[in-house]
Subunit: 385 residues, 2 copies
């Protein structure tokens, strides 16, 4: 059966990227690889919109999250984190491993954090080294107000660390302009690659903090060592890099810049709006009151087992979405529209959901969700008359 | 120009592995991926020759080296390590990051460690949690007597940790039979993959130590968490795995088992013997008195700049080998014969070295090295009469 990967990570890898990565292996300690590395890094910094270094780490995004914590905070110091879902919760788990004192801002799943709560935590804890937040909390398909949060820490001794794993390359989030101090991403989302490569960039303020910090003990994730090796002119990595993924990233970034970043953001925006319109036309309530641009979550109708629903779509229909986790387990479906996706992926999404609803015995007007999505999606194409 | 990658890592990736990894991406949190994961892990354990778990980590080999240190030793505890080259030295650098007390057994580059020195260190330091050693020290192309070393720690409270990054899948090193407590490997060597995936297996004795140890603080490299997730029946990873490399590893391991492990070891052995014979026929002295099976190092002739020699081979002739590091910089060439290599790769190697010697104005009898290698290599083929 033809397969469609429409989960919020991993996402489909474009054919030209798969083929580029299928080229014969080259040695990573050569001028040949360094030239690719330098070009890739420069393009990555264009996507980050930063004049600082965007570093590549051979790990999953969780490795880069821990790298940020370990390089900024020392055991016994304090950090604040926004826990608005599974990924927010992870900051706390990482901190606990390192004996870092945490101040948790707990947010109901599906909601954006209230700025007043962030402000209150910052005022109550001026000793906090950093505030950690997801730009897009994938478990609840919720976007967080990172620009406003960064503005709150701007004049403080606290830095803002943003997990942008499902946001970088999806929404416009200019790192330098918005004063985001640390921005983390991962390969298997909008960067349209297999998992195994993470990226991280730091502001001058964050680098100064890393330089002044004792930090937590780490050899593999020592960002100062990585910066020294990856800087322009040196163009290498401290440890053996995930070279095939970096070569793939080179191709991905070319695709992104060929499309144009503004066009890319506009595309993601319209796909997300269309998915929301589609679910609402089917009477499926959205999970988030601050819905993400990367993925849309919707509650399955009462009487439908969400876990069985997602499993049926994957195993019987060939369409892989994601279900819910923890409290949302069995209750929601999450569909992605980031990375290598366009108009007809959203039509496929709505069409697959409708057929599955029919198969699960839920009354559904075939085509209703597709039609609502199409009406939004038509804006992607030029007018004829 | 046609390119030949004959460095001791990264090594050439077989075409069928490149193509397998170029298939459309699948989701790593699905029964479909778990089935591949479980099959891969079981085959990997056949290569490790262990009844324990062989775990996969999404990092380079250095990450797995640090994982071993962090999970076995706590700050303030003692470890012993064999420093016989660049990779041996790394154990000390990792330990220093974590405040672990180190006992260094310094070995001249190109030599195997003396068992008496290991014995003396173990006797002087019964408090040492672990002894760290390379099975094959790639920087000097030297094999270490890991079976005998493991025998020395068998009845002690110290475990033997083996970096087998250029040994696993090259030489027969049955983990359980030899009593190796921890064995680490990496994807870009005999496992014939791009870099970015590491593997690690622990004996019962080592697991007991990990369970009893406070260890160093780590979230990403917590081996107990990985074991829980990767164990048979669960068949997943704690954090997002480098899925394309694991799928590639599935194909690689099938190739290795199709060849048969004994045949694979025999192949590597004859290729190494042939390379040694070739260099010796050219009057080039071997770097190691205990030469590795994975790669052969030889001194370039007096008057030839080794760095320029290796660069010429790579940039002008399309053949990528490796040069020397630190004290050996500019003095040696290292050629690999591990992974996806066979008879005619050694002939290519010797032929390329001869032509380069000629180009560098060194008197050389064309074909002399090739001929010496061929004489050894002929054993790879059945006799006609």
């Amino acid at each position: 059966m033809k397969q469609y990967l429409l989960s919020p990570g991993p996402t489909a890898v474009p054919e030209r990227v798969l083929l580029r990565m299928a080229a014969p292996m080259i040695h990573h300690r050569t001028p040949q690889f360094s030239a690719i590395f330098a070009e890739t890094k420069a393009m990555l910094e264009q996507v980050y919109k930063t004049s600082n270094d965007a570093l590549m780490l051979s790990s999953s995004g969780s490795g880069a999250m821990e790298a940020a914590v370990m390089n900024l905070c020392s055991p016994g110091e304090t950090m604040i984190y926004v826990n608005a879902g599974k990924f927010g919760e992870r900051w706390g788990k990482i901190a606990a491993k390192h004996g870092i004192i945490t101040v948790e801002i707990k947010v109901a799943w599906g909601e954006a954090v209230a700025l007043a709560d962030v402000q209150a935590a910052l005022e109550a804890h001026p000793e906090a080294k950093a505030l950690f937040v997801q730009a897009s909390e994938t478990s609840t398909t919720t976007e967080q107000p990172i620009q406003a949060i960064a503005a709150l820490t701007k004049d403080l001794n606290t830095v803002t660390v943003v997990d942008a794993i499902t946001a970088l390359g999806v929404i416009d989030m200019p790192m330098d302009d918005w004063g985001l101090d640390v921005v983390i991403s991962g390969s298997q989302k909008a960067l349209m690659l297999p998992p195994g490569l993470a990226t991280i960039a730091l502001s001058d303020k964050a680098w100064a903090m890393v330089e002044a910090s004792k930090g937590c003990n780490t050899f593999y994730f020592d960002l100062l060592t990585e910066r020294k090796n990856q800087k322009k002119g040196k163009d290498t990595t401290a440890w053996t890099p995930a070279a095939s993924l970096i070569i793939g990233l080179n191709e991905v970034l070319k695709m992104m810049l060929e499309e144009g970043l503004d066009n890319l953001y506009a595309r993601h925006k319209v796909l997300a709006a269309a998915a929301r319109a589609g679910f609402q036309a089917l009477g499926m309530k959205l999970v988030s009151s601050s819905p993400a641009t990367s993925a849309t979550g919707a509650f399955v109708p009462d009487g439908v087992d969400g876990a069985a629903f997602v499993k049926y779509l994957r195993d019987e229909m060939g369409v892989t979405f994601a279900g819910g986790q923890d409290d949302l387990k069995g209750k929601i479906i999450r569909v992605a529209h980031l990375g290598y996706t366009d108009v007809f992926d959203v039509c496929t999404t709505m069409s697959a959901v409708e057929i599955a609803l029919f198969k699960f015995g839920h009354p559904v007007q075939m085509g209703a969700g597709v039609a609502a999505a199409q009406t939004v999606l038509a804006a992607r194409f030029a007018n004829v008359v």
